[in-house]
Symmetry: C2
Subunit: 352 residues, 2 copies
């Protein structure tokens, strides 16, 4: 029998959930606070029909964090099946929505594009999707949510709501606020402001990139994850005070130790992909001309080299760049040979 | 008459200086603290001959920050022409090397590759090169250094040594130490450490990328730029305490204002290139398969679209990505049309 899901909110994530579940053979109905968005979801084939099924096998709340508790409680009252959500904080929501049929969730995907237009069935393929069952959670409900998430192509990880929020504060919320503060400080319109902007090179751009994201989602997130975020900022301030002390006192050995720990941890940070076969990082200096990237990417394609990660970085204000690629170790040697034959001078490093 | 330059230190930057000056018609001699490196520079055609000319038109000190003052003073004593350096801090060096014939310099380029093997004549094309004359600096010496830097393809900007150090602390040194601290905090090997690493997605990776760089250069930099770095950390700590307060007190309007300022500043941050004709940012969702990048880059090449910036980002742990490209506005429309004809769904945004 075909399984039925109802999606409350057919934007970027809700639309992708609908597409991913339909790809897995489910029938999906949906609504949106903006009826025009639901109409558009129906017209573009994202959902099978408009509406919420009271006997749906699963209801997914895909709304902004602040609206989730009320929408989840409504869905639990009007239906009989399990309900989950996709909010980026979990403790507040799980404290308010205490039904055994509710399982909190947070797919770690989809931040790059906004709205239904960005929705894709492949959104969650291989992505990490946190589920936050509590001691009250019904085992059957958890199993259904977990199976649906896996059917959408995601990997699941179960965490306590509070632990989820602490970890996300550390790897997402606090870094985001820190990037924003670096950017605000650089926005100080003093006499040398123009010079400062001219000197801001790749590292600064990398560090502040996320601050270009939509500001309007953050008041909700900061409110919902207040404790973990303030604790995270306190820890960062403490760490910065520590490194400041080492700089101020000229503690060269202490500084080096700290930076070596950071380097080792960064190099060991998993990439967005599994590393079963080992990966090689290549740095390829390229003059900035149309076609250089195509030559390199085409060569990779011809040699069947899968590009796991790719970034074009620039030297200061220069038009010359370095292409940083992460490729599978198996094919790296042939690829390097091909690059050298075409006049490139790649440097390679094994990522462990 | 052919101009002659002597380069003290034929590593990445010194080797590139030599190549760039030779490209501009200069004769270049050089030495290195490691004679084998100087030999290699000669053999690979980076320099014309080994040695320092006492009557060189210009001597460039391309050594680690801590060794520059002594090497510069030696060069000033043994020669009669202007002397410059390429150290990444300037106040300490310019305070110690007070000759009217010395002009401090700092090319904002070359951080990606290490050693002579990475040296290239094009290293400084379009790059920003800070010069730090003082009130004592001889005008003729400054003119010679400036002309040489321009001959190497760089743009020059003149700043007081102290101002240079403050700006570089803000856009490079403090962000670097902050990235390292975020990474050290994430390296806390508590019970949930493995989960944390699994949740660390693109934004965190962007922010901590620079902490993977060579730690050994930082004790020197932190020592030479102690005041500006400690001041910069103090300002960041103050800003973080401010945002923490807004989170703690639920000051939603205040948070939003801060994040909107950061967003506007980040969007207005100059890219590594001039923007004379306007640039378009394209976000192109792509499944992660060998060949996707090649198809897109080849299309760009065929349409003569210059790619100003390019990054492949991933959604969480997913194998699906979004290719973010910055291209010139003039050709963007045809490029978008070509992409759509090939089944991609790019979203574009004008960068102002």
């Amino acid at each position: 029998m075909t399984k039925v899901a109802s999606v409350v909110g057919t934007g970027l994530i809700g639309g992708s959930v609908a597409l991913a579940l339909r790809r897995a053979g489910w029938t999906v109905t949906g609504t949106d606070v903006d009826p025009a968005v639901a109409d558009q979801a129906l017209e573009s084939g994202v959902i099978d029909r408009i509406g919420i099924e009271s006997d749906a096998d699963l209801t997914i709340i895909a709304a902004p964090v602040g609206q989730i508790p009320e929408l989840a409680l409504t869905a639990l009252e009007s239906g009989s099946g399990p309900v989950t959500d996709v909010g980026s904080t979990k403790a507040d929501i799980c404290a308010l929505v205490t039904s055994p049929r509710f399982v909190g969730g947070h797919p770690m995907a989809g931040s790059e594009l906004d709205g239904l237009i960005g929705a894709r069935a492949e959104m969650f393929d291989g992505a990490m999707w946190v589920l936050t069952p509590t001691t009250d959670t019904d085992e059957q409900a958890f199993a259904i949510v977990r199976a649906a998430v896996r059917a959408m192509g995601a990997e699941t990880i179960a965490l306590e709501p509070r632990v989820h929020d602490e970890l996300v504060a550390q790897v997402s919320h606090v870094p985001h606020l820190t990037a924003a503060m670096l950017m605000v400080l650089a926005d100080d319109t003093s006499v040398e402001h123009a010079a400062l902007l001219r000197l801001a090179a790749g590292g600064f751009r990398d560090m502040t990139r996320i601050s270009a994201g939509r500001p309007s989602i953050w008041p909700d997130i900061c409110e919902a994850n207040k404790t973990a975020i303030t604790t995270g900022i306190d820890r960062l301030i403490e760490a910065l005070a520590d490194v400041r002390e080492r700089v101020a006192t000229g503690d060269r050995a202490g500084l080096l130790e700290m930076l070596e720990q950071a380097q080792a941890a960064r190099i060991n940070l998993p990439t967005g992909f599994g590393r079963a076969d080992g990966l090689i990082e290549l740095k390829i200096p390229i003059p900035d001309q149309p076609g250089e990237i195509a030559v390199i990417a085409t060569l990779a394609s011809e040699l069947d080299v899968n590009i796991f990660d790719l970034e074009l970085t620039h030297s200061g204000e220069g038009r010359r760049g370095v292409m940083v690629m992460v490729v599978d170790a198996e094919m790296a040697e042939r690829f390097v040979g091909g690059l050298m034959a075409r006049g490139y001078r790649p440097r390679s490093r094994v990522l462990d």
